[in-house]
């Protein structure tokens, strides 16, 4: 179990930041979500061992969060949100420097830094000065320094901020590749929900210092009622009339999406039978789910 905490409380003076947080994280990539001021940063600070909780127990990678903070920081990688680097260095020496600070022998750090720079796609610019790097390259560099010492747990803070669509896609692919390794846990904190949905299978949502929701994304998104989303082409009206005759309600959104609420006991396959009879093409057929955004808004108490 990589991260396991119970009843963590923390306050800055009179301001309560965390109010009884329990987390047991499963394997794989985890999304850490919450509105501003929800306590995400405080939680990260406690997990990385910068703050000691007022009360509560916990361990990260089996090391106690109160007493073994140095050991925790040895085996975790952290990719900060801010733009950060050391001027006057090239990518190779920077990355191997970071590896050395984590406790790698110097020669090994040098070898490994070439490897991770290849991995994040900076192989061609690894001898260039960091000052000349573009925003997208710096983002990759931050990822490289967070994995140079082969950590068992990686914290990524807004990993796609400032990236264009291409760069965003590539970074997300790297993150998915890393988290597909069974022995590495990735914890991503982000405001961009589509990124979380793409990379993570499990989310933790904080709100006002408390757990608002936690679980597998697919389970959280399930809805109870029988609602299907369809896109069709052909004789629309006849098709809709037939659906209505089956006691199902149909709504049409502005981008031509049909939302079909089937009455209980109706077989969804009947829709295809009707389609055959009415010669209608069904181009899109999905059982409706709550979007992560709606789920988020619901659990933090905003409509």
């Amino acid at each position: 179990m990589s991260v396991e905490i119970q009843q963590i409380h923390f306050s800055y003076g009179k301001i309560k930041a965390l109010n009884g947080i329990d987390i047991r994280l499963p394997q794989g990539a985890i999304g850490l979500l919450g509105p501003n001021g929800a306590g995400k940063s405080t939680l990260l600070r406690i997990l990385l061992g910068f703050l000691v909780p007022d009360s509560g127990e916990g361990s990260v990678l089996g090391y106690d969060i109160r007493s073994q903070q140095a050991m925790i920081r040895r085996y975790v990688g952290y990719m900060p949100e801010d733009d950060c680097f050391i001027p006057g260095m090239d990518a190779v020496s920077f990355t191997s420097y970071m590896g050395e600070l984590s406790g790698m022998p110097r020669q090994e750090a040098m070898k490994r830094s070439h490897e991770v720079l290849y991995y994040v796609g900076l192989e061609e610019s690894r001898y260039r000065m960091l000052e000349t790097y573009s925003a997208g390259m710096r983002q990759r560099l931050k990822l490289a320094q967070s994995i140079v010492h082969d950590p068992k747990l990686i914290f990524l803070d807004e990993p796609t901020s400032g990236l264009d669509p291409q760069g965003r896609k590539e970074i997300l692919e790297l993150i998915m590749d890393i988290s597909s390794k069974k022995d590495i846990q990735v914890l991503i904190s982000s405001h961009i929900l589509p990124d979380i949905e793409q990379t993570c299978s499990y989310v933790v949502i904080l709100n006002k210092g408390e757990m608002a929701a936690e679980g597998q994304i697919s389970e959280l998104k399930q809805v109870q009622y029988s609602l299907y989303e369809l896109k069709i082409k052909g004789e629309e009206q006849a098709f809709l009339d037939r659906l209505a005759s089956m006691d199902s309600q149909v709504e049409q959104t502005e981008d031509k999406l049909l939302k079909v609420y089937l009455s209980p006991g109706t077989d969804p396959q009947d829709i295809f039978k009707i389609a055959v009879e009415e010669k209608v093409q069904i181009r899109h057929f999905v059982k409706s789910q709550t979007s992560l955004e709606d789920l988020f808004a619901k659990v933090v108490g905003v409509d």
């Binding site: 050991m71 050391i86 420097y97 600070l101 790698m104 803070d157």
Partner: protein, 289 residues
């Protein structure tokens, strides 16, 4: 037959506790300093006094050979604690030391603050103490090259040129003076530089501060001293305080008519103040926003 598949690969090694976790910081600090424009040239220039003094030591042993060049006074070539004190406390050397600090020290913390690098350091198994030790060691490295090392070299060469241990027998404590003074001045300047480097985010601004505070403390102390006709105003000057304590360490008369321990108190006070400010400015907690 093995293959290397694409994708993330593990590193098969063990992360270890280094005996000196701060050492990489120092090494990189030194390397970055040498990469700065003009620094090598400048550093060479700083070593000129040491060369001149070394030549002086050689000449002092061969006074007969060089008689034709000397006219009159040869007292200054008498290698004794005063000779050492003159090297260590002369205005030029102290000035060059400050210039070296501008090169090697200005960006030590300021650059990290400016580019948010502190969070990269402290997300690793590194204590605040390690970080500051590593940074201070960069200053120790450069200042020892112009203080401690020349001092020891002078003594060695004096013995070698003389071919006997008479010099050592006359001043057995001199080597301790050299070490004590070098450590004092280096420690002081390390605190001084790190303090100034941690209060600015801009290397250039810090450079001006390092240089300016040193020069202006000297100028103001001289002005006040003239106005109020009191030697106590030399306590305002960084340079004068160092020279005062230096003179005592080499068992010489102090240049000004004030107790030397006042100067030492001022120096220690500045160091303590710096340590306090550094503790406030370099914080791990705030790295995650």
């Amino acid at each position: 037959m093995t293959i290397k598949e694409r994708g993330y690969a593990h590193w098969d090694g063990e992360l270890q506790d280094g005996r000196f976790p701060w050492w990489p910081i120092t090494r990189i600090g030194i390397r970055l300093t040498f990469k700065r424009k003009f620094f090598k040239f400048f550093f060479g220039f700083t070593l000129i006094p040491a060369l001149v003094w070394l030549v002086g030591i050689y000449v002092s042993e061969r006074l007969e050979d060089f008689k034709f060049m000397m006219e009159g006074e040869t007292d200054f070539l008498n290698v004794n604690p005063l000779y050492f004190k003159t090297y260590f406390t002369n205005d030029f050397l102290l000035f060059m030391v400050v210039m070296i600090l501008v090169f090697c020290g200005a960006g030590l913390i300021a650059d990290d603050l400016r580019h948010n690098a502190l969070q990269l350091y402290f997300a690793r198994p590194l204590k605040k103490r390690d970080y500051l030790t590593g940074k201070a060691a960069v200053i120790f490295f450069f200042l020892f090259i112009v203080t401690l090392i020349p001092g020891i070299v002078f003594i060695l060469f004096k013995l070698i040129f003389a071919g006997n241990f008479q010099f050592f027998a006359s001043y057995p404590w001199l080597i301790l003076s050299v070490i004590a003074y070098s450590v004092l001045i280096t420690t002081f300047f390390a605190f001084y530089t790190l303090l100034l480097s941690s209060i600015g985010k801009n290397r250039r601004y810090v450079s001006i501060l390092i240089f300016g505070v040193y020069i202006f403390s000297d100028i103001f102390s001289a002005i006040f001293k003239e106005i109020f006709r009191s030697h106590y105003f030399y306590l305002l000057s960084i340079k004068s305080n160092l020279q005062q304590v230096g003179a005592v360490l080499f068992d010489q008369r102090t240049p000004w008519n004030i107790p030397w321990y006042y100067s030492l108190t001022v120096i220690i006070a500045i160091c303590l103040f710096s340590a306090y400010i550094l503790k406030q400015r370099v914080r791990g907690v705030e790295i995650i926003k």
